[in-house]
Amino acid sequence: MEQPLYLIPLFPLIGFLLNGLLLGRLGKKTISFIACTSVGLSFLFGLKFFFDLLSLPDTARIIENVFFTWIPAGQFHVNVAFLLDPLSAVMVLVVSGVSFIIHIYSIGYMHDDAGYGRYFTYLNLFVFSMLMLVLADNYLLMFVGWEGVGLCSYLLIGFWFEKKSASDAGKKAFIVNRIGDFGFLLGMFIIFWQTGSLDFKTALDPAVAHSVFAVGGGMITAATLLMFLGATGKSAQIPLYVWLPDAMEGPTPVSALIHAATMVTAGVYMIARSNVLYMMAPATMAVVAIVGVATAIFAGSIALAQNDIKRVLAYSTVSQLGYMFTACGVAAFSAGIFHLMTHAFFKALLFLGSGSVIHAMAGQQDMRYMGGLKKRMPITFWTFLIATLAITGIPGLSGFFSKDEILWKSFSSDYGSIWIWLIGLITAGMTAFYMFRLVFLTFYGEERMDSHTREHLHESPKVMTVPLSILAVLSVIGGYVGIPHILGGDNRFEKFLEPVMKGVHHSVEGEHALASAAHNGSTELILMVGSVVLVAVFIYLAYHFYIKNIAAAGKLRQRFSGLHKIIYGKYFVDELYNAVIVQPLVVGSKFLWKIFDVLIIDGFINGMAVIIGDMSTGLRPAQSGILRTYTTIFLVGVIVILGIVLIFG
């Protein structure tokens, strides 16, 4: 089915061009109107096409829109073409919807910023790129969007570029992402080399894939691993997660939009999109699962000890992304996407809420100087609480369904194992602990801020709280599209995505999957209850340490001061990278500079210069500067040439 899909990314592009080209010439109202309207229109068109898609029969849910041929070079043929299938439809809605809400929120948050117009310009460019990424019907166009969002991320992290830490963070994000992109590119090359196409339709056709790759073969493993490297870069997984916490230097709505809800999920989306290939490389799947779950617990543990409110959320994001990768790694791609969606809602809400808090605290981000904000900012508090409950997986809220599905799949899937499940479970507990630690430190207890800030405290304006409320509602109900069978639902989300997950064999035999789910019903229920109990325990612990008995927390910190130091110092990964990668480079460069450059290269050049200088001194008398000498020599030359012509001509 053909539909004008280009309408979806068109409007942000127009907004970007309008705001970008007329930068500094528009009023704030006009800028925000253009920016918000463009994204809003995108969302509406996304919705329209989504319903168009729903109106199609299950098996034929694909809307295409071939625009023009981009690169026709021999066999290499790339179209600019868009593809809307259930997977990209979900992404489009999440991206444009959350973006729209955050755009609205930004009107209030960025109101007094000097770079207002620039901010919305970047934001629109980001939305455009992200929509390109998710709508692309081939890897190359996807890569264009992929790079585009990387660029916007760089621009927005370094938005306050006068601050050195901000511009450094921007550079770090860009460079780390570049490492990942390099993997992605190589993966793309292998895919093209083997299948002869970068189109999803061809390259991801199971028949084609099976005809050119051997299941578990070296080529497919390499390709998928390289692409996974790209995903770790973009989605902040071990070992390339280091940029995301630093990315918190950007404006908070940016953190919410890019570094929590949308861009960082690009890796997950890409792997889910490529599920056909990943399912053919079991080794890669194992790597994905292990890296995912390791990242989850690793980042979760770091989050336990951080004091910066955004930093906690940042590590929480890394941790949750780990969950998504775990889901992908155990072949539960739809679960990963499901979590991606719910996470987008509640993590965006958390960030926006923290933004609201920071806004009220006049830029203060350290939780140790907060407290008691519950009364001061009730809307922020309640929405934040809802999001916290959602992320910790309290039954009935969106996070519960998605997280539980991942845990269950990691336990039950052929690719999963009890260890992965166990680590995931512990991570869930940690999540509960640090999230409630955050809530308690921020909103409960005594007011630890200075008096000036205290007088200044206020609830955020409507333009900020309304988006919070909307996201809160979404955080609550977002999960109900995917209620598992065990709880009486029929997991419509998974079914909806099924046509895309062509590589997952058990979905091909859907009946069998249903049967096995029913068979394991009791186990699933037990696990679910277990995780809820664990979460409750950790919430209580947080309550114990940060409300009831604050001194206990300090004592605990004292007793495990070494451990605390390690966690507080984020396992010193940045320092490790610095020592292992950056320092050797610096030392090596210095060596090359001092020895190779100065002695050998410069010596060679200087030697040449001396030789030429000596030769010139010998030749200099020829250059007398006397005009007649020159003309005479010139004439002799003419005579010689004429002579040659005469003799040989």
Partner: protein
């Protein structure tokens, strides 16, 4: 016969005046000899049925370009500037030798290039109006219109260049004053 006499007459004047031109100390005398040489050449042009170009040669060269030379000489009030010590006789002799060789080579080239059986004879009769204003003009404005227009640009550039070069700076003028 008369033609040949006129030719030799004009040729001798042209070459002789040219030689005199380069031998002069005094640039004014040089200019005058060049004028004489050019007028003699104009006669040769007429013999080659190039009436229009011959008239142009006089109008443009003697009427404008060489007057400009004279004008400059007067403006600078160059009155036989003394050019210092004499040149070495060897140097001058070798330079004359160079030009003689050049001449010999050119003659040889002409003999090689021009078709030998035609070079020794008078060219075939040409149309009555060969070289007339009308004929040259129709070539100039039809076939060679673009080169012709480009010449105008060249002249414009030359004018601007000459003005810029010869104009005194304002600061320079103030120093003078």
């Amino acid at each position: 016969m008369l033609d040949l006499i006129i030719f030799y007459f004009a040729a001798v004047i042209a070459v002789g005046a040219a030689v005199m031109m380069i031998m002069q100390r005094n640039p004014v005398a040089s200019v005058l000899y060049l004028v004489v040489s050019l007028v003699a050449q104009a006669i040769l042009y007429v013999q080659l049925n190039a009436l229009f170009v011959g008239a142009l040669l006089i109008i443009i060269y003697t009427g404008a370009i060489l007057v400009l030379f004279l004008f400059v000489i007067m403006l600078l009030n160059l009155r036989g500037e003394h050019f210092g010590g004499k040149q070495s006789r060897m140097g001058r002799a070798s330079k004359i030798a160079i030009t003689v060789i050049l001449f010999a080579e050119m003659v040889a080239i002409f003999k090689q290039v021009a078709i030998p059986e035609r070079i020794g004879t008078q060219a075939a009769a040409v149309a009555e109006d060969f070289g007339s204003v009308e004929m040259v003009a129709s070539h100039l404005f039809k076939e060679y219109l673009y080169p012709f227009e480009l010449t105008s640009i060249l002249l414009l550039v030359a004018i601007v260049g000459a003005v810029v070069l010869a104009k005194r700076d304002k600061t320079e003028k103030m120093e003078d004053a």
